[in-house]
């Protein structure tokens, strides 16, 4: 149990540094720390699939982010919004956070006893009981994403496809033809 708190605190501290540091490159590196901390957290939360995916995605994401920042104008941008605006937004966000704390403490089931054990007709119970028999896959996460909820995965593939097409469209060299070429 303690390990979760340690990791969560590590992630939160890394996030605060990533948000507040002036240097973009260190900020990006802190994002890497959050990602790897998160990946360790996933491992301890018994989600090895997610841990693997998180690590490799983190590597690629960092490369993409560093591509954006390296050898560019890294001079930090002078002070964020004026002081008053910053205080107001911090106060608003703290207020929402305190309201949210109450929500999380009262409504959700305790940490470590998932909801599907309490709801009699939850789908997850069926996945665990019959997943291997019905889909033949020993990895239940795979059986959920590629069989029970394969339609979601089609959507996911489409999202990736969309964003890649979008990125190549945004980064193309010449975007307009001259109007005279039309006729």
């Amino acid at each position: 149990m303690a390990i979760f708190y340690v990791l969560l605190l590590f992630i939160i501290i890394a996030a605060i540094i990533a948000v507040e540091t002036k240097n973009l490159l260190s900020s990006v590196i802190c994002i890497g720390a959050i990602g790897f901390g998160g990946s360790l957290m996933f491992l301890f939360l018994r989600a090895p699939d997610i841990a693997i995916t998180q690590v490799v995605v983190e590597v690629l994401g960092l490369i993409i982010l560093i591509r954006a920042t390296i050898s560019r104008d890294l001079t930090f941008i002078s002070g964020d919004r004026e002081f008053f605006g910053m205080v107001v937004s911090v106060v608003i966000i703290l207020a929402i956070f305190l309201a949210g704390m109450k929500v999380f403490d009262t409504s959700l089931p305790d940490f470590g006893s998932p909801i599907f054990t309490k709801v009699p007709e939850a789908a997850s119970q069926t996945y665990i009981e019959q997943g291997l028999d019905k889909t033949g896959a020993a990895n239940l996460v795979t059986s959920v994403i590629l069989d029970y909820r394969a339609y979601d995965t089609l959507g996911e593939a489409a999202v990736l496809f969309t964003s890649i097409i979008g990125a190549t469209v945004i980064l193309r060299r010449k975007s307009r033809k001259r109007l005279e070429e039309l006729d």
Partner: protein
């Protein structure tokens, strides 16, 4: 309490995305929010178990089944008692892919904008009125 810490992470990301003026910082804020939601989903499915029988990953090996080649396969009681919830893990896998995709698109928009304006500062990127 771990849920609340997760929510704190979410709010840090939201703060960064709303208040900061650097385009890359805004993207970083959005990424932090995504991490927070992913972590939250996985936590929802976690089963602590007891110290003798801690929760296990939802991956079946041969010791978890009764029956086999001829009769229908059944899970052992122990597996049913300790396996964590596979559904949030599937959702998070999808969410991670989606966030990677939107990261790629966002960064390419940032790079292209940098090429046009020569800066990441959104207060200086203001051709549009209001």
């Amino acid at each position: 309490m771990p849920y609340a810490l997760c929510f704190l992470l979410f709010m840090i990301g939201l703060y960064c995305a709303i208040v900061k003026k650097n385009m890359v910082k805004i993207v970083i804020g959005i990424m932090v929010m995504e991490y927070a939601v992913n972590l939250f989903l996985i936590m929802l499915g976690f089963r602590m178990g007891t110290s003798e029988e801690p929760g296990i990953a939802p991956i079946i090996d041969r010791s978890h089944i009764i029956g086999g080649a001829t009769e229908p396969i059944q899970m052992t009681e122990k597996f049913l008692r300790t396996s964590v919830d596979p559904l949030p893990q599937a959702l998070v896998l999808t969410a991670i892919v989606i966030s990677l995709g939107s990261l790629a698109l966002m960064i390419s928009i940032c790079i292209r904008t940098y090429g046009k304006y020569g800066t990441f500062d959104i207060t200086r990127i203001r051709r549009l009125k209001g």
